[in-house]
Each structure stands twice: as structure tokens, then as C-alpha cells.
């Protein structure tokens, strides 16, 4: 049943990376509870444009929870108060009539604000560039049945690969640590034969890049897993630790 609500939005406005930002409060009426959070933001921007004000800048792309582009820290949670979804999958039915919704950008030293709610998540791309791939050394094609992969490993690798690199883990972490992201990216390859070969070098390269970019040290609070839209498990962090420590010890 469709219903309309009126909300008050407290949105972080920041003109540029070096400019000091502040919260602005906007009233938005007649928001359909069937609309998504991003549709509500579009509605807000239309209202701002009609008032000849500058619209709010925010990241978004696929709007179906697979690209990892949308961000926003809504009422104290990355991707909002609902669980296991991205901001684009968050619906206005999660909010009450007359509620004040606080919208902030991801806050982490490694994710500088570009404008308003848009942050630079290029740091994650740099970590991937450091080793989050498989070097294809072509040779004779081995028989597929010669390399059995257990169901357990295949499932674990797929669970790790569900990470969309949105940055919610580092945004939620009180230490600004990117360990869940790096652990997922190391795990998805380390668990399968093609990726296993370069496992040690990959773990070292990606962790070194993560540290260099200014992400914090993981203290295992588990906030990342709780906020992850894809529910990536912190057990992957244990695997990353194991990979890294073993690689360093065998040096």
C-alpha cells in the first residue's frame, strides 16, 4: 500500500576536497514509501534546482546493488539502517513520517571527500592494482578434471567474490581499516588454483599498498562484517592474516 511521508534531511554539504563542510537541513514533503533512498535524493535535488540552489552531489550507478558505487552514511550506518543492502536498495518505508535523516559521506582519511556526499574511493582501485589479479601465463591447457576444487573452497571463494568494493567496511570501521575488502580480494583468488600460485606475493603487495594509502590497523571489532552489504565474513581476514604472516616468515 503506497503511502507518503514528510522527512527532514540533514545533509553534509562540502564544496570541494579542501573546503570546510557543514550540515544543511532540508524539508522534503510527499515522499512515497515505495521510492528508494536514491529516488528520494533525486526528488530533493529537483526541489533544490527549482529553488535555484545547487543540487546535492552523490555517487550512484547501477541502482540494483551490484556495482558498489553508491555510498552515504545514513543515520549512523553505511548504506543506511537496513541490513545486507546497498544505499540504492534502501527504501523509504524504512523511515517514519516526520523523521530526521542524517546523511553523511564515508569518513576515512583514505577516502577524501570530492564534493558533498561523494568521496574518492580510488584507494581501493590502487590496492587492486597492487596485486588483486591473476597473471595469465599461457601454456598448454590442463584437463579441467585434473584439478578438483572442493565445494567448500568454491563456496568460500564465491562468498569472498561477492564483495563489490563499495567501501562500507572502511567507512564503518572505528580504525578506518580496509582489511575486510583486502581479505575478500585476497581470498577469492587464494582459494582457487589459478590464484593460489601467486597467493603469497599478492597478500604482501596488497597489504603493503593498503598500509601505504593510510588505512588503519584492524582490531577485529567486526563492525565491517555487520555493515557489509554483501555480508562478507571476517573469517576472510583470518585467511589474509595467515597468508601474509606465512609469506613474511618464508621470506
Amino acid at each position: 500500500m503506497e503511502k507518503s511521508i514528510n522527512v527532514t534531511l540533514k545533509v553534509w554539504r562540502q564544496a570541494g576536497p579542501k573546503v570546510k563542510g557543514a550540515f544543511e537541513t532540508y524539508k522534503l514533503n510527499n515522499v512515497s514509501t515505495d521510492s528508494s533512498f536514491l529516488e528520494m535524493m533525486d526528488q530533493l535535488n529537483e526541489q533544490l534546482i527549482s529553488e535555484r540552489k545547487e543540487p546535492v552531489v552523490f555517487d550512484h550507478d547501477c541502482r540494483e546493488g551490484i556495482c558498489g558505487m553508491c555510498s552515504m552514511f545514513i543515520n549512523g550506518h553505511p548504506h543506511g539502517p537496513d541490513g545486507e543492502i546497498t544505499t540504492c536498495q534502501l527504501h523509504m518505508r524504512m523511515f517514519k513520517d516526520g523523521e530526521t535523516i542524517t546523511v553523511e559521506p564515508w569518513r576515512s582519511a583514505a577516502f577524501p571527500v570530492i564534493k558533498d556526499l561523494m568521496v574518492d574511493r580510488g584507494a581501493y582501485d590502487k590496492i587492486i592494482q597492487a596485486g588483486g589479479y591473476v597473471n595469465v601465463n599461457t601454456g598448454g591447457v590442463p584437463d579441467a578434471n585434473a584439478i578438483p576444487i572442493s565445494k567448500i573452497d568454491a563456496d568460500e571463494a564465491m562468498d569472498a567474490a561477492s564483495c563489490i568494493g563499495c567501501g562500507a567496511c572502511a567507512a564503518a570501521c572505528k580504525n578506518g581499516s580496509a582489511m575486510l575488502f583486502v581479505a575478500a580480494k585476497v581470498s577469492q583468488l587464494a582459494l582457487l588454483p589459478q590464484g593460489r600460485v601467486e597467493g603469497a606475493a599478492r597478500a604482501k603487495a596488497m597489504v603493503a599498498k593498503m598500509d601505504e594509502l593510510g588505512f588503519g590497523n584492524c582490531t577485529n571489532t567486526g563492525a565491517c562484517e555487520a555493515e557489509c552489504p554483501k555480508n562478507v565474513s571476517i573469517s576472510h581476514i583470518a585467511r589474509l592474516n595467515r597468508e601474509f604472516i606465512c609469506a613474511k616468515l618464508s621470506d
Binding site: G76, C218, N220, A223, I245
Partner: protein, 225 residues
């Protein structure tokens, strides 16, 4: 040196020193229980440890463990504050499954350290230190541990202070033990809940053994039972 330069290396140092300190606490709590069962037996342990070379060597390694654990804690916390960025969230939600202890390890560590200094003054200074230097610091013979315990815990305020200290230590251990195993990589999806349960059980056993002594004196058993 990767134990200083890499985040996982630094965490590994925290976890290894942490596990070492947990093993010490296990040893210490088992030793303490003897004072309830037999004060003479407890004094025999005190005399054995005393100022012998092996006790001094053990104390030095232990002190090094504490110092490294604390220095790294401050270093990691400083780095994490920087990584979090200058601007704090206006609204910070809480997540299900994230323990209070895990978010307050440094304040809990501070409470533990404060009481540790007091504890060192009350026992170590009057016992091993006194025996080592030969100076007279307490009202009893340095090896008469049971007398020192009885003297301190005849003060109900001290009993209460020790209980507060042990509660803080319990919180610190519940997160610390499983976190140490996670950091060393000894964990996976199946073992995650098990490791957390093991952590809670060990913490509770250690703390109950420690707490037995102030409670024993608090309910007035020190003199009569």
C-alpha cells in the same frame, strides 16, 4: 622490519604479547588460589619464586611483554585515529555482534594499567623487590605472601577495587583472546563462534580464580573459615 612497518605485523606483535600475558594470568591465578586452600603452601610458592635467578629472568621477560604490548597499543591507536580522518561522524550507529569491549580496548587497558601500578606497589615492591634490594618495605618477611594478602584484603575498599579491576580485565580478555587468534590467522568460518566461546570461557575461568581471593576476604573468611 615487517613487525613494525606492516599493519598485520604490528597486530601480530600485539597478539603474541597478548597471548603470552594471558598465559601469565593463568599461571598467576592458579597460584593465587593456593592462598585460600593453604596459606603455608602459598608461602612456599612465594619463597620458591622470590628473588631466584629464574624468577628474575621470568619477571624481566614478563615486564618486556607488558611494555611491548602497551607501546604497540598506543602506536596502533595513534595510527587508527589518523586513519579515521579529521571529521567524526555526526551520528554513529551501533552494530549487532560488535562487542562493547572490542570498541573500548584502550580505555580498558588504561584501567588495567592503573590498577597494575597499584598492585605492583602493594605486592611486588614489598616482596620480590624488597628481597632483591634487601631494603625493608613491608611489615612482614618478603616471602610471607599470605600475610601481605591478608593485610591488604582486610581493607574492604581494596577488595572492592580489585573486583572493579578484574571486571575491566574480564572485558579486555573476552575480546583480546579471540582477537589474538584471529590476528595470527588461527580462525575460519566454522571456528569463529567456537573461538569466541573459548575466549569467553578462558576469560571467565581466569577472572573467577582471581576474584575468589578478594571475595573470600570480603565475606570475612580470611580470619575465621
Amino acid at each position: 622490519m615487517w613487525l613494525i612497518n606492516s599493519s598485520i605485523g604490528r597486530k601480530l606483535v600485539m597478539s603474541i604479547t597478548g597471548v603470552f600475558l594471558v598465559l601469565f594470568l593463568l599461571f598467576h591465578s592458579i597460584m593465587n588460589i593456593v592462598v585460600i586452600i593453604s596459606p603455608e603452601g602459598y608461602n612456599a610458592i612465594c619463597a620458591t619464586l622470590g628473588a631466584n635467578w629464574y624468577a628474575i629472568a621470568g619477571t624481566s621477560v614478563l615486564a618486556a611483554g607488558f611494555v611491548i604490548h602497551i607501546i604497540y597499543a598506543f602506536y596502533l591507536t595513534y595510527q587508527n585515529k589518523v586513519a579515521r580522518g579529521a571529521e567524526a561522524y555526526a551520528v554513529a550507529g551501533t552494530q549487532e555482534g560488535v562487542s562493547w569491549a572490542s570498541k573500548n580496548m584502550v580505555p580498558l587497558g588504561g584501567v588495567i594499567l592503573g590498577f597494575l601500578v597499584l598492585h605492583m606497589y602493594n605486592f611486588w615492591f614489598k616482596m620480590q623487590f624488597a628481597e632483591l634490594t634487601g631494603i625493608h618495605t613491608g611489615s612482614f618477611d618478603p616471602a610471607n605472601g599470605a600475610a601481605f594478602v591478608t593485610e591488604l584484603f582486610s581493607n574492604k575498599l581494596y577488595c572492592a577495587l580489585y573486583i572493579v579491576w578484574l571486571v575491566a580485565l574480564w572485558f579486555h580478555l573476552t575480546h583480546g583472546i579471540w582477537s589474538a587468534l584471529q590476528t595470527t590467522g588461527l580462525n575460519n568460518k566454522v571456528w569463529l563462534p567456537r573461538v569466541k566461546t573459548i575466549s569467553n570461557i578462558i576469560s571467565t575461568i581466569v577472572i573467577l580464580m582471581f576474584m575468589a581471593i578478594p571475595l573470600y576476604f570480603l565475606i570475612g573468611c580470611g580470619a575465621s573459615c
